[in-house]
């Protein structure tokens, strides 16, 4: 239900089939897991125990599939 709300906040999006948020929710889970795993590798690589936003930033920069996140992480200082 949350996901549907976010989708409909975008004015360009029209109607949404009922099953769609289910699909997106699953994809989001996978995506988040992916993002976490990859960022965690960086955290380990740096020998840190706490995952910080700069690890996340580096993760986004090294994976082209996360390109759409560049703007979001750009606010993070290096």
């Amino acid at each position: 239900a949350r996901i549907k709300k976010i989708m409909q906040a975008d004015e360009e999006v029209g109607k949404i089939a009922l099953a769609t948020p289910v699909l997106i929710s699953k994809a989001l889970e996978l995506f988040l897991q992916d993002l976490c795993d990859k960022t965690y590798e960086i955290t380990l690589g740096r020998g840190a125990k706490t995952m910080s936003s700069s690890h996340l930033k580096q993760c986004v920069q090294t994976n082209s599939v996360f390109d759409f996140l560049r703007e979001i992480v750009s606010k993070v200082p290096d």
């Binding site: 997106i24 996978l30 976490c36 759409f68």
Partner: protein, 147 residues
């Protein structure tokens, strides 16, 4: 914190932080800690992901001259955006969900698969809409616990 229902700005649309924090923690090995700003960032990434898939699906939907975004559009969007490896699992989750909603106990197991989609699908859709409405209502009224 006052939540004015009338002024629904774009900023209000996000995922509930507490739930996200829990999910993120569960995804990582237990001994890892996550900095507060990193957590917020992850949540922002999620919202961005949803927006991305939505607009891409919407475009695909328009190109096919349909008015309702269908599951195939979402799957196609995932592929285009480079998340092709998710497609199999997403599709599996979708199938499972479909089976769960179509096998409505009310209509008796027989209807589900043999009679085709006629009546049961409508019932299922009605049930789903009720669930969504309930969930939305719960979200709107019950979110004031710790904030």
């Amino acid at each position: 914190m006052t939540m004015d229902a009338a002024s629904r700005s774009k900023e209000d649309v996000s995922l509930p932080k507490a739930t996200m924090t829990k999910i993120i923690k569960e995804m990582l090995p237990p001994e890892v800690r996550v900095a507060r700003d990193a957590q917020d960032l992850l949540v922002d990434c999620c919202v961005e992901f949803i927006n991305l898939i939505s607009s891409e699906s919407n475009e695909i939907c328009n190109k096919e001259e349909k008015r309702t975004i269908a599951p195939e559009h979402v799957l196609k969007a995932l592929e285009i955006l480079g998340f092709g490896e998710y497609i199999e699992e997403v599709h599996a989750a979708y199938e499972q969900h479909r089976n769960e909603t179509l096998d409505s106990p009310k209509a008796g197991g027989k209807w589900g698969k043999e009679a085709g989609s006629g009546m049961t699908e409508e019932e299922a859709i009605a049930a789903q809409q009720r669930m969504f409405a309930e969930a939305r209502a719960r979200m709107n009224s019950g979110g004031t616990q710790s904030s």
